[in-house]
Symmetry: C2
């Protein structure tokens, strides 16, 4: 399949700009062939204007129509598996198996949102009927549901070229909400994005969706992204990436004449607390499990366990030894981009340069370029507590081991934590009872709390929270993974005294869509 | 009942500051006796620190315990009715009947949130159970629910000294969410606030709530409010007031090291569209009804109809005449404060000074101070469309009549609107069918759409939306009235692989609270 390097403006393509950029293969360092045309500001404006026009039509599509569209996107992507995975692995250095799995997750996400739309109850329908006899004034009929915000800007993420990119969770949930989408393709995998973008366009045509329901622009500089965030017709932003990138979008959006919500998932160090009993019973399996979680995806997961808190007991030393051994036997692997690999190295260098921190184990460097070498560093709890830098994310396959003297130190560390996506506690039943206070503290710090597991691996389901207090995200009230992600792109509206015929089907008195509703304060759940 | 003029720091009071201010009776212009102590920055910090300490305990209270607390607040307020209404009418110039009604609404809100807590289903519980046989990796058990954000800062509003003030909707919903609250009392009714604040403290004691679950500080300068918004332990802000005030809090919060959500309801002009058929059938009742809605509460409602769009047909002139007649017979009334009255006058003056705008009718000035005189102004659609100033809220009993040549002009006006809290359409069945496009446009502009009613009067119920796109509010995704307001102060958390005993009751497998849950994608609604 020939790549064009052009911007996707609804059903047409456009390449007005003269600024070109190229992807490269991180494992060889070689530049790939296709030149990509950075979108001009005019092209960004055209794409967004088209998204606004399309929105007035797309928002009126029924849930089933939108569901069919999402399912068709999934089908189109599945049909292109070989091409997508082929170009994807060239552009990202990720193994074919990983990309195949990620494509499955991506199509699965689309289908999950489709099923949410077919069910229909997600709109949180609420009906309070009129009471003309109420004193002192009659009670009006009021009905509420969620409606779409408008055109949404989505920023593709580097670390999940499929599941968090052009047709990833942000796009899927925004389209499901009834929003049109303008994607800023991540410049590290523009070819993958083009294939995926074209699949969405094909699906839109097949499903009779309005032209402009989806567009995608390229850009290697920050100008394109800024233009999206600043555009008055854009009503929300989805982003997964670095703190610096996410925070600058947040600030930009807050400075607009009309501020808009920015859902920026900005990374996290995902502390793992190993409790004394679990350590005693199970130090070997815990250390091996942690080593695997640290290395998964070359540590390029938002939920990578970058911080491990382990008591200073004898088995803590054994745990440390097993972990060191495991990491020292580990092979390096190609990171997503050259610059990510350089950032990983400089993050480690910054840690190593601290007097209080020791590098205690590292893996083997492979032959290819942009190698991320697994590494374990160590620091005492006391030193950790006195240096906020040590909590910062180092994006890559490393973890900082913090050794604690006692429970009080562990609790103190937990209390001092910033917001993270996840926290994990490894503990026996007794441990967990004895550390109930620790769990309560961690509840205030994260979006997801795991017991006896590892944070890598984010299940796409109704109950997932991939989010958490700042600085993990810019909006702790939301999740970017799972079906609850849809409400990032909606707001409630109330219809007062509306004739039944003018109401949306979700709110008509006889409940034609057969959805769950809150009717005069009681949940009514029709048989399905 | 003796007023102390002191800040309420949980169960103690404090008056460390040397800056004093006084309330005054707007109808006489006379200063009232009690000196109020503006809180020092240290007192603000103490109140918030106390709220943080209390939060760790308060968030663990069961729904029933929190419900009992809210109900006790309502009882305490009802028991103080005479005192509250007495001081309230002195401080605000509002009639006793209105304040009595507003107190009923305030206690009603508290009880409604209590009933929401007793039902328990508001937490949006979601459960996806484990599947150890799933390939390629086992599926973990994940469970999600909403939890409280932390201490919340609430700014009392001038225009509803009870329902949007110390124990108003923001406080009630934040306490219901499980947050502790620090109120900044509105300096125009500090005595009313003190009585209400004391009632909350008494209820907290009687209900065994932790000291610091509620505090209230005074301040006539902006320093106190800024200190609340800037305080790192404050996790969200509720505000109802002017655009300038709300936007400055929003900006302040966005600039924090850790940005926090600000729910600012910043006012709105609440356009009313009168369609040709309704006008033909019913011009007299419509004009009289509008006149009443404009004057209600001396026009000091966020939902006051400040903009009325009426076709240039014969009955449009008749409508205008009836409205003029009605307003010219109307009496002025005392506004909430001297400065609100001055702002009303200067807002009108700004309108009148425009060449395109005519003042076509005004009411009679009464004897008392701070009189708001009802007024109708008029402008052609064409002139309205060319001057964005004309859409701005003039807080008080006035409306700007916009006369349109045809449907196209009406649609153009709708398309050009900023965000508002409400829009109203007066129309016959035929009108509504013929103006379906107008309704669709308005849907994107407001939080509540009314047919054949008037926007004043905000029902407190499950389906109400008192919110809307910017600049009506700073966050269109939320409502400040009705039970959905509770989610402003919560965020989702996911528990992964948690032992049942450690899960909150809302998520335990056997559903001990008997709440609605989404279990493996299916809504499960136990019999109650």
């Amino acid at each position: 399949m020939e790549l064009t390097g052009k911007n996707i403006m609804g059903s047409t393509s456009s390449a007005k700009g003269e600024t070109l950029f190229y992807a490269s293969n991180p494992s060889t360092g070689q530049q790939l062939n296709t030149p990509y045309h950075e979108a001009t500001l005019q092209e960004v404006d055209e794409a967004i204007t088209l998204a606004e026009v399309a929105f007035t039509e797309y928002r009126e599509k029924t849930g089933s129509e939108k569901a069919a569209f999402l399912e068709t996107v999934a089908d189109e992507l599945a049909a292109l598996e070989q091409e997508i995975v082929g170009i994807g692995s060239q552009e990202t250095g990720l193994p074919v198996g990983r990309l195949t799995g990620e494509l499955g997750r991506t199509t699965g996400q689309l289908k999950l949102f489709a099923s949410l739309l077919r069910d229909g109850s997600w709109v949180d329908a609420r009906i309070d009927t009129a009471d003309s006899n109420r004193k002192p004034v009659p009670k009006p009929d009021t009905r509420q549901m969620q409606i779409a915000l408008g055109p949404v800007g989505v920023f593709g993420a580097s670390n999940f070229p499929l599941a968090f990119s052009a047709a990833g969770g942000d796009t899927a949930s925004a389209l499901a909400a009834g929003c049109t989408v303008v994607v800023k393709a991540h410049p590290a995998h523009p070819g993958t994005s083009e294939l995926v973008g074209n699949a969405i366009i094909n699906a839109a045509k097949k499903s009779n969706m309005p032209n402009g329901v989806f567009s995608m622009v390229h850009g290697a500089s920050i100008a394109v992204g800024q233009a999206i965030v600043r555009h008055p017709l854009i009503k929300a932003i989805g982003f997964t990436g670095s703190f610096r990138g996410g925070k600058s979008l947040f600030d930009e959006a807050a400075r607009r004449d009309e501020p808009i919500p920015v859902y920026a998932e900005m990374g996290s160090t995902n502390p793992v607390f190993v409790l004394p009993g679990a350590l005693k019973e199970n130090h070997e399996a815990l250390a091996t499990g942690l080593s695997g979680s640290v290395q998964l995806g070359v540590g390029q997961f938002c939920t990578n366990p970058g911080l491990t808190i382990v008591p200073e007991q004898e088995e803590g030393n054994l745990f440390e030894n097993v972990l060191k051994e495991s990491i020292s036997n580990a092979e390096s692997a190609t990171m997503l981009t050259d610059s990510i690999q350089r950032a990983y190295n400089s993050g480690l260098e910054k840690l190593r340069s601290k007097e209080a921190v020791d590098s205690i184990s590292y893996g083997k460097k492979g032959e290819q370029q942009a190698q991320g070498i697994p590494e374990v560093l160590s620091v005492s709890a006391n030193d950790f507590l006195s240096d906020k830098d040590l909590e910062e994310e180092v994006f890559g396959p490393s973890t900082l081991l913090v050794r604690t003297q006692d429970k009080a130190e562990m609790v103190k560390i937990a209390k001092g934590l910033n917001g993270h996506l996840t926290a994990t506690v490894q503990g026996t039943e007794t441990d967990l009872v004895e550390h109930a206070d620790l769990l309560k503290i961690l509840e205030r710090k994260v979006g997801r709390l795991l017991i006896n597991g590892f944070p890598t691996g984010v299940e796409v389901c109704h109950s997932m929270v991939h989010g958490g207090p700042f600085p993990a995200t810019s909006d702790s009230r939301m999740t970017s993974v799972g079906t609850a992600a849809i409400t990032r792109f909606t707001r409630p509206i109330c219809y007062q005294n509306y004739p039944d015929t003018l109401l949306p089907d979700e709110l008509k008195t006889d409940n034609p869509l057969n959805i769950l509703r809150l009717e005069n304060g009681a949940y009514v759940l029709p048989d399905k």
